[in-house]
């Protein structure tokens, strides 16, 4: 079970990263919602989506760090906003997690509602 969840988070994380790169930040709630609809509730799709959302953006952050001076950027951008740079990095990871989790719950709920109506 644990292995399955980890691999789901990993794969979905890559999907979040690719989708964000291709379609922008809107991909996060959309993908989160789709995952909630697709995966059964007992597999905690919202939690997986949240972790994958954070992982996806972490992958992209690492890509930026490899390709350029991310730490300097973090310090300067955070300086402009008047927050510590760690806060900006944390916000960048928490934001997709929150979006993906919320969207995952919505998707999960939609799946349950749809399934119960079909049963009726």
């Amino acid at each position: 079970m644990m292995r399955r969840t980890i691999s789901q988070v990993g794969l979905l994380g890559v999907a979040f990263a690719v989708a964000t790169a291709l379609f922008g930040w809107w991909a996060v709630p959309l993908l989160g919602c789709l995952w909630g609809v697709y995966e059964e509730a007992r597999n905690k799709p919202a939690l997986v989506a949240a972790l994958a959302g954070g992982l996806g953006w972490l992958i992209l952050l690492i890509w930026n760090a490899v390709a350029g001076p991310m730490l300097l950027l973090s310090a300067r951008a955070a300086g402009v906003l008047g927050v510590p740079s760690a806060t900006l990095v944390a916000l960048t990871l928490l934001y997709p997690m929150a979006l993906a989790w919320g969207a995952g719950i919505v998707g999960e709920t939609a799946r349950l509602v749809f399934a119960s109506r079909r049963r009726k």
Partner: protein, 840 residues
């Protein structure tokens, strides 16, 4: 559904809804968080665009042929094209690649469209720009030029290049500032180049001195105004040498100040209190003036040395324009090469399709601001105060030109609408004391940008000057040297011919055509000097012509000549000038004003101390006497002098202060204060803040010196304890264009103060914006720097890589290859190939 599920769903809906809301909408001043935080396309992606790629290519559809651009290790693009048109397109592309945000910001500022980015906060600034007619005249220039004028043509070619960059750039290339503002780059229009050039004209020649003079005259009378704010500078070291002894001090007695009402002790105490409180705002006023109103404390330097006075026997030229210091810098360094046509190196202003200051294989040139009076105001009689349609002129009513100017907000909504009017002279301004029209050469300039390409192609001093004949505004002292050893300087631009005695200091009656300008000076009348016998030429914004040689009115309220005196002194003393010396002159620590005022302070103290022992004054005089008159970074006496001089000025010019407050309407130049030193009992020395005492010169000098010691002690600690070090008290501050401290380089120690060749005064936000020394030998060699870096990306290694060099006063030797393709491999940072194609 269980209640837990419901709560969970509600929480999820709030998170998703809130997340999407803050993700797609501006909250307060924060940009929409979604696109901002998106690590693939948002702010984090800027890291991936920090450095110049080693190899890149792009399509510029309108190119006639491919263009190769090699970036050298200093980030300077060497553009090699097969036609001038392609070179200009490539210039637009490469400048936009590095400085897109700066270009758009400046164009918007000039057009009065900042509200679209900043909302109501920018409304006043935008209103000012629209009211003085910047975009109105730029549109008029475009329409008048059509497709035939060089300015319009170059603007269009440049726009092709900028827009090609916009079309080809990836999300990571969008400058960081757009992300903070939550806005997107706009398509670049050819008119933007004209707007930015006019913005330069605004910075360098917009003036309200006619109106200020009115207020001064109302306070102290016309005769005193003429004496304290004279048309001619009382210390003459003119740009144009005239075989007379220079410098010359034309000090004349001053008419007495107007009679003042005697004040009671209580009134004096109240005013003194307010004056003391106003002391810091006065420093602020000083800084405000430094930003443009009183150009006397700022300006630029340029000088050239004939082969007969240079160590190598080649002509030498130095350019040292002083402007607002920003990150990114106002300048962008570039080499443009079109074999057989143009091979020019220098600096361009992002947004303007030309190399403004620089050199080619034969000629080098630089500019200082002439500061001539090129803007006049006229009282107008309108048919209505509230919604006028006509103005009275030569006995009849004429139609006003009317334009409606809407100001848009952040979301495109209209936040204000102004109706603006113009007469045949120019825009109408509604001042407190009535409507005025203004006539200003900057609004009448149509062809100055085109002149720079003529300059770039010139092969001699003569050809350069011919090319610049079509340059109109803002008027510049254009210094030039060529490889044949010729040097020349000419104040070039439109200089109005005014009616009567030609004086432009008054606001005239606009209802009479006889008060209109009658044309412009002829080219042969411009202040001009070629190969003078003294073997050098220099300008530092001082009065161009000695009024004893040519008495014609050119301007008023000339900047203090301290820099002019110093550079002339240096050049006069050295008959074998070297490149290293030229570089050193840029940050020369000596200041001529100290030579004038320090002896005055010391002699006054000596006279007073003979009669009355005063331990504070004695200590202050001892410390000041120890000063070597230098503004080096480790100097520990300059602050004492500066504080004393500031105090002396404040105490002396109390007549210009308001009747009920310590605020001055204006402050006469330090040259006037120097002239007043010759008259120890002049009534101008009497301080209206004292009751029943009539002060003399020595009273104010000694009081100022004593005050300075106490003030400096209080603020900076005891002398010789490190607190008085010049590097602690005086800084340059290079702010980011949006004022973000995290992207700025503040509190840089500087060698120099107000009036030095490397000037630093007020808020420290102005100074040497570009330093260049060129040796016009068999092979042209040049050394340069500017306070910033080539890249506009704040995380690029080229963003502010030159700042420390600028602080130290050293220069880089430039790479000026005959063929950029032959640059050594380790000199090349990256290659960009621009190809024609795509949709034509």
């Amino acid at each position: 559904m269980t209640s837990i599920r419901v709560v969970r769903l509600l929480l999820a809906l709030i998170l998703v809804g809130g997340g999407i809301f803050v993700g797609s909408s501006r909250v307060n001043q924060l940009p929409p968080l979604g696109p901002f935080l998106d690590p693939a396309n948002g702010i984090w992606s800027v890291a991936r665009a920090a450095e110049i790629p080693s190899n890149a290519g792009a399509v510029v559809s309108s190119l006639g042929d491919s263009v190769e651009v090699l970036y050298d290790r200093r980030g300077v693009p060497h553009i090699r094209a097969r036609s001038v048109d392609d070179a200009v397109r490539a210039l637009g592309f490469v400048v936009a690649r590095d400085r897109l945000f700066q270009m758009e910001l400046q164009a918007r500022a000039a057009a009065g469209r900042l509200t679209e980015w900043f909302g109501e906060r920018a409304l006043e600034a935008d209103r000012q720009q629209r009211a003085v007619g910047m975009s109105w005249s730029a549109r008029r220039d475009m329409e008048a030029g059509g497709r035939n004028s060089e300015t319009e043509r170059f603007g269009r070619l440049y726009a092709d290049g900028v827009n090609a960059w916009l079309a080809s750039m990836e999300s990571k290339d969008i400058p960081i500032e757009y992300r903070f503002l939550g806005v997107s780059p706009e398509q670049w229009e050819p008119i933007n180049s004209i707007l930015i050039f006019k913005r330069m004209g605004y910075t360098l020649s917009y003036s309200t001195h006619d109106r200020r003079r009115q207020r001064i005259a109302a306070r102290i009378g016309r005769a005193a105004t003429a004496a304290l704010f004279p048309v001619n500078c009382p210390i003459q070291e003119p740009i144009q040498p005239n075989e007379r002894d220079a410098p010359r001090f034309d000090f004349e007695p001053f008419p007495p100040p107007p009679e003042r009402e005697r004040r009671t002790t209580n009134e004096v105490v109240a005013i003194r209190h307010e004056a003391d409180n106003a002391a810091m705002p006065l420093v602020g006023e000083y800084a405000g003036h430094a930003a443009g109103l009183r150009s006397g404390e700022l300006g630029s330097n340029n000088w050239a040395v004939s082969p007969s006075r240079s160590a190598t026997g080649h002509a030498l030229l130095s350019g040292d324009p002083h402007l607002g210091l920003t990150l990114p810098s106002i300048w962008y360094e570039v080499h443009l090469q079109v074999p057989g046509e143009v091979d020019v190196y220098g600096v361009t202003i992002p947004g303007i399709p030309a190399v403004i200051i620089g050199f080619n294989r034969d000629v080098a040139w630089s500019f200082t601001n002439t500061g001539s009076d090129v803007l006049d105001y006229y009282w107008e009689t309108l048919d209505s105060d509230r919604s006028p349609t006509r103005y009275f002129f030569d006995g009849e009513w004429r139609e006003l030109e009317r334009r409606v100017e809407p100001f848009l907000g952040l979301d495109g909504e209209t936040i204000a609408v102004d109706t603006l009017y113009s007469t045949h002279r120019g825009p109408v301004i509604f001042a407190d004391d009535g409507p005025m029209s203004m006539r200003w050469t900057v609004l009448e300039d149509e062809g100055s940008i085109g002149a720079f390409f003529g300059a770039a192609r010139s092969q001699s001093v003569e050809q350069f000057e011919r090319a610049m004949e079509s340059y109109h505004a803002p008027a510049q002292n254009m210094i030039v040297a060529d490889r044949s050893g010729n040097i020349a300087i000419r104040s070039t631009g439109l200089f109005p011919i005014r009616p009567g005695d030609g004086d432009g200091t008054a606001i005239l009656d606009g209802s009479r055509s006889e008060n209109d300008w009658q044309g412009y000076w002829g080219l042969d009348e411009y202040p001009h000097s070629v190969n003078p016998s003294q073997g050098y030429l220099a300008s530092a914004n001082q009065q161009p012509i000695d009024p004893e040689s040519e008495g014609r009115y050119l301007g008023v309220d000339w900047p203090t000549p301290w820099r002019a005196l110093r550079i002339n002194e240096l050049l006069r003393a050295d008959s074998t000038v070297t490149v290293d010396e030229m570089i050193g002159y840029h940050t020369d620590p000596r200041n001529e004003k100290a030579e004038v005022f320090v002896p005055a302070f010391l002699e006054a103290a000596e006279r007073l101390l003979v009669e009355t022992p005063d331990s504070v004054l004695s200590e202050a005089a001892r410390l000041l006497a120890e000063w070597d008159l230098l503004y080096t970074k480790d100097n520990e006496r300059a602050i004492l002098f500066e504080t004393a001089l500031e105090r002396l000025s404040m105490l002396t010019w109390d007549e210009l202060s308001g009747a009920s407050s310590g605020r001055r309407v204006a402050t006469p130049s330090q040259t006037i204060l120097a002239a007043l030193l010759q008259y120890p009992a002049s009534p101008w020395w009497d301080n209206g803040m004292t009751v029943d005492i009539v002060e003399t010169r020595d009273d104010l000098l000694t009081e100022s010196l004593s005050y300075a010691l106490q003030e400096v002690r209080e603020r900076w600690g005891p002398p010789d304890a490190g607190g008085w070090r010049w590097s602690r008290v005086r800084h340059s501050n290079i702010w980011h264009l949006l004022g973000f401290p995290a992207l700025s380089a503040p509190e840089l120690p500087v060698q120099g103060g107000s009036g030095n060749l490397n000037p630093s005064s007020g808020s420290g936000t102005h100074g040497a914006s570009w330093r260049m020394v060129v040796e016009m030998g068999g092979e042209v060699q040049a050394w340069v720097t500017y306070p910033g870096g080539q890249s506009g990306n704040p995380v690029s290694s080229l963003y502010q890589d030159r700042v420390s060099q600028w602080v130290d006063g050293t220069l880089d030797r430039v790479l000026f290859p005959e063929n950029p393709q032959r640059l050594a491999e380790n000199d090349v940072l990256g290659v960009l190939t621009l190809e024609p194609g795509g949709d034509q």
